[in-house]
Amino acid sequence: MNSDLLTILLPTLALTGWALLLLLVDLWIPREHKGITAVLAAAGLAAALGLTLSQGRLPAMTDSTVMVISDGYALFLDVLFLASGLAGVALAHEYLKRANIANGEYYALLLFSVAGMMLMAHAYNLILIFLALELLSIPLYILSGINRPRLESEESALKYFLLGAFSSGFVLYGTALIYGATARTDLPGIFAALQSAPVNPVIFILGAVLLLVGLAYKVSAVPFHMWTPDVYEGAPTPVTGFMAVAVKAAGFAVLGRILMAAFPTVGKDLTPILWALAALTMLVGNLAAITQKSIKRMLAYSSIAHAGYLLMALVPFSNRLVNSDVQASLLFYLVAYALTGLGAWAVVTALEKQNGDGLKLEDYAGLGKSHPWLALAMTVFMLSFTGIPLTLGFWGKFYLFRTAIEGGFTLLAVIGVVTSLISAYYYLRVLMYMYMRAGSPSVERAPWLQVTAVAAALAVVLISFIPNVLLNLAGNSLLLLP
């Protein structure tokens, strides 16, 4: 038996096993007591988090079949995924009860999805990457539709599933073409083949582009983003929050891994494409967000826009000189975005009514008066999304733009700054509604949501005073290069 494989995947496997058990155990937990399932799920995530952290001293290594890898990059992302999973549980518990959809399957599926993400971070082989992608996506297709009697939720699930299957086809086709060109599916093997063996460039690039497109769908980069607003709006809000943060992070994790470990020699071909994707995503995401009336839809477009910023970090991926900056700024921004995003979605969840009302911008009017702490937290998140100093979002963008400029992509950084400026319009509009419009919003009594929101806001502000700590952490979590 391949013992390295087990060592590397131990937290992932443990989480998967726990999820299976949870699925069974939940069958005997009565509907009124689904809180037990939530606690069990959280315990599983926490245990996996402990296992992951205990692996921190593990040397960077791959197993003998070059299927999986363990390095700082993967561990860093594992922590991010597991923490997002915990937030996903905290977001959901009260919401599910309120929406009368307290199904235990939610937690098991969430755990499966997190396991898929962790597998994604560790995957070192295109086949395994595809498997991980499916493992993370399929539970989410179901989760989007878990609010079943509601048409929007079903529509959202169907759309997500159809387009997701469509994009999976691209990933698979890309993998096949790359295999056809290089006769390898493991990332270091592809890298080596590109350097030594004769490789058909047309077939290889075609494969690489198709793979890229498939993953661009997952991170909702323009023009492969069309599903995002509809799915995010229709899915139950905690699921949306989890998707917007964790799925995006997983997509970028694997995108960064593939680009930097396997494709650095074809930067000449891929960089312009990434450049265009990043620029388009930033522009379209931010522009479309302006006219949105629903906060959920606005945040959906905002998540598209942030995918653009994250893509910007990857544009100079083939430049070995800035490689560590690329990774560090990518990971840093993922953390900043995750904290901000989870917090913002927690606030949105707290304001949503049982029948799905409370999601319009007008519903936030007067929040500053009636719930000053919640409004303050939301203010922090909006400022962080915009990238205003004294928030983590500022440093995230700062490092991102610095990476782009150091990589020689000044124009892209300028587009980033300009679109950030545009984004201030719709983010600050939320503040305007909260503080300058009169209204009496009703907030559901949901202690865990409030805890999540306030903790995230505190983290966003406090870590912004010591950004170096997080940046060093991200910078030291380098991915193993072949």
């Binding site: 169907l158 759309k159 159809l162 387009l163 469509f166 994009s167 691209f170 690039i205 075609l206 582009v209 198709l210 497109v213 769908y217 323009v222 023009p223 492969f224 069309m226 599903w227 607003p229 509809d230 071909d269 312009p272 494409i273 265009a276 379209v284 522009l287 479309a288 967000a289 302006i290 006219t291 949105q292 545009i422 319009y425």
Partner: protein
């Protein structure tokens, strides 16, 4: 508190941060509970904060006696960017502790005085609630000033520099709704702030150049590297020092940026005494003294400093002669005396400059407080409210017998300022004159002329205020103020009398004290110069007596006796050489016109139009972007395919 030491020879140096934190504690306490404590409590807190800072400074001074090389006390690591490593740490050496002693010592006396003065002042302005606010600002000023003098790097010094500027602004505009047309005081505060900003800009540029050239802002590193940098790039240090000079002219009210200080008299009198006479305005002198190693490397800049100081000393002296406002005379006198100090540090006589800084802090604070006492007495006696301006010397007169303590202390201050042997001012001014005589005869003559004017306008002031007959009902009924006012006066008068002991010829206590921090050239005592300066004093007082003392002004409306004799010249003095009008014509008016153009035509029409247009464009783009979002999976797939096709087409056609 995070306290770790870099080099602490004496545990007493650990106390150093308290000089900042005690006043700061006063600020916080008074902010939180001052209003509830009432006047007594708030005043007590403020005074205790000042006295505590003074006690700590004294303890530090004793510590320095045994280990005079001093210490650097780290409070916390501020930030680290690249190679730049900035700490928030205090430099405890003889120079900084000297400044601390002056600031906290004189400051505490003025605090005590202010507890009584502000009691009347807030009632005079019908705003008793503002009593606490005054002491919050006052303590904040002390804290900021302590930051300034205790900084061990230029950035921290700049923080203090801006801090005192802020407090100055707040306190000048303390009665912001008062003054001419209800805007006068606010305008004065704004003017002080804006003019200081010009100087601060210079200092900031100096710091930037320093950062570029030296890669550090710490005093010790910059000064150690100065000779090497001068050897390779002589222009750099020259640029740094010249820009620094711009900062000095702003903060220490030298030509050409002195115009804000006379207007700053709009603040309550204790403010004028503490901030605009004794401490803050001497920050520029301190900066030059502290940066001595830099000025040594740039003799040209040192010469410019010298000439700026000397010319200012004379120029401001002339204006003081033509003023009627009791505080304005003192303000111009302050500018003139600051000119002496700046000239002294410019010519390398740093000890003389610092000496004059200290003695001047004593007697100018005394003069302002005594003037405040006069104003207070007049305001309190002005029952019929027929007094237009309680600061106008023309409505005073004959106060000698009515305010005896104030009179005697004022007289001592005036004589000390004029340089009568053996009062404090005599020794410090004499040292500067000796140094000037050795440096250049022209500067010596200018400073001597300024000294003549000093004695003349001070004598004129004494005669106008205290002699002759009262020229208004208020002056007639004025009565001496209570001890809270007069005791600080007496204390400061004693300091003005005996302040010269600090650096007596032959003993040179201050010189030996400061030689641990500065490069001192031993001062000499030259008998003929002392005699000449005394003769000048005698001549000036005699002239003043002839003009103002022999036949005192009888009514408030009479013209000044000098006006008839000097004609147009006197009118020019009275109008302060129209410097304000000149600046207004040169800078303010064009600026306002440009601003008017930019705001009404450029901004409203062009920029706003552009902004609205862009906004509309973005809105329509946004609408277009969300229109594609029609909800059909088939069109989403289509967009997806179009994207793939576009990428493939790009790869094919590239």
């Amino acid at each position: 508190m995070l306290l770790s030491e870099v080099s602490l020879h004496d545990p007493v140096f650990r106390l150093a941060p308290l000089v900042i934190f005690l006043p700061l504690a006063g600020v916080i306490l008074n902010l939180l509970i001052g209003r509830r404590l009432g006047e007594l409590g708030a005043g007590l807190i403020a005074c205790l904060a000042g006295a505590g800072a003074f006690a700590v400074s004294a303890a530090l001074a004793f510590g320095l006696k045994s280990s005079p090389e001093g210490a650097i006390v780290l409070i916390w690591r501020w930030f680290q960017v690249g190679n730049l490593d900035l700490n928030w740490s205090l430099k405890v050496d003889t120079l900084s502790v000297t400044m601390m002693l002056v600031v906290s010592g004189v400051g505490t006396l003025i605090h005590i005085y202010a507890t009584r003065y502000m009691h009347s002042d807030v009632r005079h302005h019908h705003e008793p609630g503002r009593y606490t606010r005054f002491f919050v600002f006052f303590n904040l000023f002390l804290a900021a000033m302590m930051v300034l003098v205790s900084a061990d790097n230029f950035l921290m010094l700049f923080v203090g520099w801006e801090g005192v500027g802020l407090c100055s602004y707040l306190l000048i505009g303390f009665w912001f709704e008062g003054g001419e047309g209800g805007l006068g005081n606010a305008r004065a505060a704004k003017k002080a702030f804006v003019v200081n900003r010009i100087g601060d800009f210079g200092l900031l540029i100096a710091i930037f150049i320093m950062l570029g050239a030296f890669g550090s802002l710490e005093f010790s590193r910059v000064f150690a590297a100065a000779p090497a940098v001068t050897a390779t790039a002589p222009g750099v240090v020259l640029a740094i020092t010249l820009f620094m000079l711009l900062g000095v002219t702003g903060k220490s009210a030298q030509l050409p940026l002195f115009v804000w200080l006379p207007d700053a008299m709009a603040g309550p009198t204790p403010v004028s005494a503490l901030i605009h006479a004794a401490t803050m305005v001497t920050a520029g002198v301190y900066l030059v003294a502290r940066s001595q190693p830099l000025f040594v490397q740039a003799p040209l800049a040192a010469d410019v400093v010298l000439w700026v100081g000397a010319i200012t000393a004379l120029f401001a002296g002339t204006i003081a002669v033509g003023q009627y406002d009791i505080k304005k005379v003192l303000a111009y006198s302050t500018i003139s005396q600051l000119g002496f100090m700046v000239a002294a540090v410019g010519m390398g006589a740093v000890v003389a400059g610092m000496f004059h800084l200290i003695t001047h802090a004593f007697f100018k604070a005394l003069l302002f407080l005594a003037a405040g006492s006069v104003i207070l007495a007049l305001e309190e006696a002005d029952h019929g409210h027929d007094l237009q301006d309680a600061q106008d010397m023309r409505v005073m007169g004959g106060l000698r017998s009515r305010l005896p303590v104030t009179f005697w202390t004022f007289l001592i201050g005036a004589l000390a300022l004029s340089g009568l042997v053996p009062l404090a001012g005599f020794f410090s001014k004499d040292e500067i004159l000796v140094a000037a005589q050795q440096k250049s005869p022209a500067v010596f003559i200018i400073l001597l002329a300024a000294a003549f004017l000093t004695a003349f306008y001070m004598a004129r002031q004494v005669f106008l205020v205290f002699f002759g007959r009262p020229r208004s009902g208020a002056a007639e009924h004025a009565r001496e103020n209570p001890p809270l006012i007069t005791v600080p006066l007496i204390a400061l008068a004693l300091l003005s009398i005996f302040g010269g002991v600090l650096n007596l010829p032959g003993v040179h206590t201050l010189e030996h004290w400061l030689e641990h921090s500065l490069n001192v050239t031993p001062a000499k005592f030259v008998l003929w110069i002392a005699l000449v300066s005394l003769a000048v004093l005698a001549a000036a007082v005699t002239l003043a007596w002839l003009l103002y003392g022999r036949k005192p002004r009888a009514t408030a409306r009479e013209a000044d006796p000098l006006a008839a004799r000097l004609g147009g010249l006197y009118r020019a003095l009275e109008a302060r050489w129209k410097v304000d009008e000149f600046y207004s014509w040169l800078v303010v008016r064009p600026f306002e016109r440009a601003a008017e153009f930019l705001s009404s035509i450029f901004d409203l029409k062009l920029i706003n139009g552009l902004g609205d247009g862009l906004g509309a464009l973005v809105q329509s783009l946004s609408t277009a972007a969300s229109r594609i979002q029609n909800g059909f999976v088939r069109s989403y797939t289509l967009v997806f395919l179009v994207g793939v096709t576009a990428i493939l087409a790009y790869l094919l056609l590239r």
